[in-house]
Amino acid sequence: MAKARKITGVMPQDSYRENARIVLPQQVEEVYTWEPFIWDVARREELHNMRISIKRLRYTMELFRFAYGAPKMHSKETAVADNERFTEFLKVIVDLQEILGDIHDGDVVLEVLADYETRSEQRTTTSGIAKLITQTRETRNTDYKTFLEKWEQLSVANFKQQLLSFFGS
């Protein structure tokens, strides 16, 4: 698993609000470092790393949520709109995390079943295990396809730029 990248530029004595605008764009960039690998079905490790980066982004968004939409410089209306927008972005990130989680679970189950099969005394795949392997592989492949479709839709909508511009504003 990839280690968290060091967050740079943080200013402890500046406001939480200002630092949110330094930290969140870096977390978004970390997610997108894995993008070139997702189209290759064999790059499971990188897909797993993207899942971890997305999880970090989600947790960081939840941490800094109250730094967006709190009325200070903005009008109350802007604050409400920002809050709603933040919620929409968060929903997308949670959705991506969940589908990547399902894919990863499938990979783990396939690994466990294969390992169990190898270790079993008979050294032959029993029918129950074989059926589970087939079912899990099918579900995993469907989930992967769904993820790529979602990602493609987000790319067309310029989701990364939307995130960066919102978080940096």
Partner: protein, 156 residues
């Protein structure tokens, strides 16, 4: 789904350092509140919630690292990472066992015995994975980790 711990009462116009202290302490309390349940082992949700909260705590610590003296911060961070990892081994097996138990109902009776054997095997691994977790909890208690952690993040 485990939701983010509440961090009410903090203004975004306070310094990052002041907010970071409150958030880390808050997340830490939440995480430790699941420890007794995780130790008892009668409900898998406690291990799950403690692990997720430890991940959230680490995410907070990653973002706020610049607010604290590096050497001591790293020591505390490593311990939280160890908590996540140790609990992860137990949680992963909880998930697998639950998944295969669910799968049983989708298979004809003739094919169920293979899966039952697999579940039995995983339950043994689960028992083994709980040992390092319980050992870690005992070590945390013996060394006064909780008090040291809170003292550091409340005062340094």
């Amino acid at each position: 789904m485990v939701t983010a711990p509440k961090i009410d009462g903090i203004s975004p116009d306070e310094t990052l350092e002041a907010c970071a202290r409150q958030i880390i302490v808050n997340y830490f309390h939440q995480m430790m509140s699941y420890k007794e349940g995780a130790k008892a082992g009668s409900d898998i949700k406690f291990v799950h919630e403690m692990r997720v909260t430890s991940r959230r705590l680490r995410a907070a610590m990653d973002n706020f690292a610049a607010c604290f003296p590096e050497k001591s911060f790293k020591k505390h961070y490593k311990k939280i990472k160890l908590i996540t990892q140790t609990m992860g081994a137990v949680r992963d097996l909880d998930v697998l066992i639950a998944r295969f138990e669910n799968e049983l109902s989708t298979l004809p009776k003739t094919e169920q015995s293979d899966i039952r054997k697999l579940i039995e095997h995983l339950k043994q691994e689960h028992e083994a994975a709980r040992k390092p977790m319980l050992k870690l909890f005992a070590e945390l208690e013996e060394t006064g980790f909780e008090k040291k952690f809170l003292t550091f993040f409340n005062t340094n």
